[in-house]
């Protein structure tokens, strides 16, 4: 008996430890009940994107505003401590308790949607969501881009606006200083980079300039010789860039550029290249997203007088074509919101999501709250100082603190970007759009489970081999030899790999 008496408090204290998490959950439930005032209904939402950059915040003003309009208030359930969105998402799925609304990547929403975790939305949208239905009916490609491999729609997508993803950039002030013309062809581009390297445009008496640098990878330059780094579309057929003959020429040239010091020697290891190389007046040309890159002109105008890092059109490649390999997708950015199969009233939820596709909801998500973040002047929205000036003028960041411009399900409005972007970026984007330099883009394809396995097993081997070989070629530790490379790809199972893509693309076209 004595023993038992001792055991009880000890066991009890252990149980307390073990049940710590569930305790916290039950108190938050009580909290929820007390907040209910009968008018506004509270639903749970899971949103954890960009590895913790976007975690649903109950205090976001735009969603409070939406609650007033729709009678539905959202409560975030994603863990704020996690810094890995896939992990957070997987944990949520594995827990078996799926919140009413789930934000996530298309491939996962589709995968678990087919298994029964999320509701197919086609009929719900048809009956209860006129604004979303408008996209389904009127925008060709909307369904194709977002539906699962079973032909059902499991998510309402976040749609970004504008076509331009990355662009070329060059230091116009360096060109002026060295009395050079804007390069129009790949040969001229080479000569300009060479001049940047040798003629000391930053004027510090040292040859420390780094003519070409990049924030992510070097191969955006491959199209200067007509070669693509990965999969691409040509005449309605999916091809793998490194398997094509142009890749040999491109690699030989890039290897030469690297050897001559025209390309950043640390291109594969450097982090935050723009910050360091532009900030120290060393970088000459690059390729990256125009909005954020053009911003460096403002940020650095005091420390580097006359800095003018502008968008340039892609130089004509060896075939006389100007090609920009990247482009924003038309419908859907692979992100969206799904409705849980456990949701009590899916009708209400789809109506709620429909609000964000309405004129009013779209404006709310793009510009924030009228009178607070923007005002209407001459019929157009204009941002207030709260957005433009606060926080060192980091406009996107400011808008996001209100809950606008977070990739929830809504259609982004490119006009919003024009309102704050550096004029250099706006001009560059217009130039790229008008010139239509974009390479044809592969749509978001969906794969069967078998195909998924081929992509994981063979695909990982192919990428491993390709990445490794390409770096060795460019850094010159191995001579470029496409024949050997292709033979090796065949051994790994390249034919099977590319067939998966071609089949998936065919299905996409036929759907």
């Amino acid at each position: 008996m004595k023993k038992r008496k001792l055991m009880v408090p000890l066991l009890a204290s252990m149980m307390m430890l073990a049940s710590g998490c569930s305790d916290a959950a039950s108190t938050s439930n009580k909290d929820k009940d007390s907040k209910k005032d009968g008018k506004v209904e509270e639903l749970k939402v899971f949103m954890h994107a960009s590895n913790g950059y976007f975690i649903f915040n109950d205090d976001w003003a735009t969603f409070k505003e939406a609650a007033e309009k729709t009678g539905i208030k959202l409560k975030g359930t994603a863990p704020k401590s996690s810094t890995n969105s896939t992990e957070a998402f997987n944990l949520m799925i594995a827990s078996g308790e799926i919140p009413d609304l789930v934000h996530g990547q298309k491939k996962y929403l589709n995968k678990y949607g087919i298994e029964g975790a999320f509701l197919p939305l086609n009929d719900l949208i048809k009956e209860h969501a006129p604004n979303i239905q408008k996209y389904v009916k009127e925008k060709e490609g909307f369904l194709k881009a977002n539906q699962g491999p079973d032909g059902k729609l499991y998510m309402v997508p976040y749609i970004s606006d504008g076509l331009v993803a990355e662009t070329y950039f060059i230091r116009q002030d360096w060109l002026d200083k060295l009395k050079l013309q804007m390069p129009q062809t790949v040969d001229e581009f080479y000569n300009v980079l060479k001049a940047f390297k040798e003629q000391d445009p930053n004027g510090n008496g040292k040859q420390d300039e780094i003519p070409y640098f990049s924030e992510d990878n070097i191969l955006g330059l491959g199209t200067l010789w007509g070669a693509f780094d990965g999969l691409y579309l040509e005449n309605g057929e999916i091809k793998y860039g490194p398997y094509e003959a142009e890749f040999q020429t491109a690699m030989e040239n890039l290897s030469k550029w690297y050897k001559e010091g025209l390309i950043d020697q640390e291109i594969f290891t450097r982090k935050k290249a723009r910050e360091y190389l532009l900030g120290n007046n060393l970088g000459g040309a690059s390729r990256y997203y125009p909005g954020s890159t053009a911003g460096y002109n403002d940020a650095l105008k005091d420390s580097i007088p006359g800095i003018n890092f502008i968008v340039m059109a892609p130089p004509e490649n060896v075939d006389g074509k100007r090609i920009e390999p990247t482009k924003r997708s038309d419908y859907g950015n692979n992100l969206g919101v799904a409705i849980s199969a456990q949701a009590e009233d899916p009708e209400k939820i789809i109506k709620y999501l429909d609000f964000f596709y309405s004129e009013e909801g779209r404006r709310l998500m793009n510009y924030g709250i009228e009178g607070e973040t923007y005002e209407i002047k001459d019929g157009n929205p204009v941002f207030t100082d709260k957005v433009l000036k606060a926080n060192d003028g980091n406009i996107v960041e400011n808008l996001r603190s209100y809950g606008s411009q977070v990739p929830f399900s809504f259609h982004q409005d490119f006009e919003y970007e024009k309102l704050w972007m550096n004029p250099i970026a706006v001009k560059g984007i217009e130039e790229y759009t008008k010139g239509n330099y974009f390479a044809e883009q592969i749509p978001n394809l969906t794969f069967t489970e078998e195909e998924e396995k081929v992509l994981t097993d063979i695909g990982t081997q192919i990428t491993t081999y390709k990445d490794e070989t390409v770096q060795k070629w460019i850094m010159g530790s191995e001579p470029v030899n496409l024949e050997v490379f292709k033979k090796r790809l065949d051994e790994i199972g390249f034919k099977e790999y590319i067939k998966v893509y071609q089949d998936a693309y065919k299905r996409y076209q036929d759907s």
């Binding site: 023993k3 001792l6 000890l10 252990m14 073990a18 896939t86 997987n90 799925i93 594995a94 078996g96 996962y108 678990y112 298994e115 029964g116 975790a117 780094i210 020697q265 640390e266 594969f268 290891t269 450097r270 982090k271 396995k453 994981t456 097993d457 990982t460 081997q461 990428t463 491993t464 081999y465 990445d467 490794e468 390409v470 770096q471 060795k472 850094m475 530790s477 051994e491 790994i492």
Partner: protein, 327 residues
């Protein structure tokens, strides 16, 4: 000896004389447990810990043989036999990754394993207490720095354009070397930074404790016999540490297939895959990022089986050679 008395008590107090042998033994065990109840009581938390954190998760190991879906759960997912293992072995890179894993651990064993032993021996010979404590603290500190920051420091030090190492090389008239992009340097950099620099001070603590436990009378006797410092170290300190060294070596072999893949991911890049890509990093790229937990589980199970074999072999060898073993 103590076992006898309760046993006889049981015999005497028992009403039935013809109890079976088994019941008698059971009664004896009960008595013993009752006698040492506080010790068993203290054992409970640890048993619970093992049940919850070591044995219960083993139930999940079955996903290595299943086509696992997070949503369906462990029981509902269909069995697929050895398919996950096949997928894992079939890769062209399996052998290379296996060899790389072994090589990193092998060189780690040659260079990183003795490093804290040597440091402990050196510290033991230092007479100035201030100096000894200072050295100990400085070598011990990097253990608490996150691997992410260490990788950042390494990248900065070795950067070809403005890294301190290359600046020194250049000042002495050498050619700059892009260390992190050359496969032949990867193992040295990894073992040097992540295993030796980061952990040498921390691991030395165990050895210092082992040295502190050596009977001082042995040293006095050695001095009487005219042994110098070197001889004392060789014939007293080292043999005194040997049991500790052997146990740590066996434990080390147990994790021979486990490489800290987080720290490798931070330091490697495609150009150095040739020597840097290990089983865990490959599995990470192939599946874990996309939620293919079953392949990860298969790789983990494979690692565990190999580790178990290695530990058993090492233990047997150690017992034969030094009479020291884990069991």
């Amino acid at each position: 000896m103590q076992l006898n008395s309760p046993l006889s008590e049981v015999k005497e107090t028992s009403a039935q004389a013809n109890r079976s042998e088994f019941a008698l033994k059971l009664q004896a065990v009960k008595t013993i447990v009752w006698r040492d109840k506080y010790l068993y009581f203290m054992l409970i938390p640890f048993i619970l810990w093992y049940l919850i954190f070591a044995y219960k998760p083993m139930y999940g190991l079955q996903i290595a043989f299943k086509d696992y879906s997070l949503f369906k759960g462990i029981t509902e997912s269909p069995w697929v036999g050895f398919e996950n293992f096949e997928r894992f072995f079939r890769s062209e890179y399996f052998i290379r990754n296996l060899v790389n894993t072994f090589m990193i651990n092998f060189w780690g064993l040659i260079f990183a394993f003795p490093a804290p032993i040597i440091l402990a021996l050196l510290l033991n010979e230092v007479k100035n207490v201030m100096f000894k404590k200072t050295v100990q603290t400085i070598t011990y500190l990097p253990h608490f720095i996150s691997v992410v920051i260490i990788a950042g420091i390494v990248t900065n030090f070795l950067a070809p354009t403005n890294g301190i190492v290359n600046i020194i090389i250049e000042k002495f008239g050498g050619e700059k070397i892009n260390f992190l992009a050359m496969p032949e340097f990867f193992r040295t950099i990894y073992i040097g930074s992540m295993q030796i620099w980061k952990d040498v001070g921390y691991s030395a603590i165990i050895y210092l404790a082992a040295i502190a436990g050596i009977n001082p009378a042995l040293y006095e006797a050695a001095k009487m016999d005219g042994a110098n410092r070197w001889k004392q170290m060789w014939h007293i300190t080292l043999p005194g540490m040997l049991p500790t060294i052997m146990i740590l070596l066996i434990l080390n072999l147990g994790s021979f297939l486990e490489v800290g893949y987080e720290s490798i991911i931070l330091l490697y890049q495609p150009a150095t895959y040739e020597t840097a890509d290990v089983i865990n990093t490959y599995v990470y790229r192939a599946g874990l990022q996309g939620g293919n937990y079953e392949v990860g589980a298969a790789a983990g199970l494979f690692n565990s089986v190999v580790s178990l074999i290695l530990v058993v072999l090492a233990n047997r060898l150690s017992k034969k050679m030094t009479n020291v073993g884990l069991w």
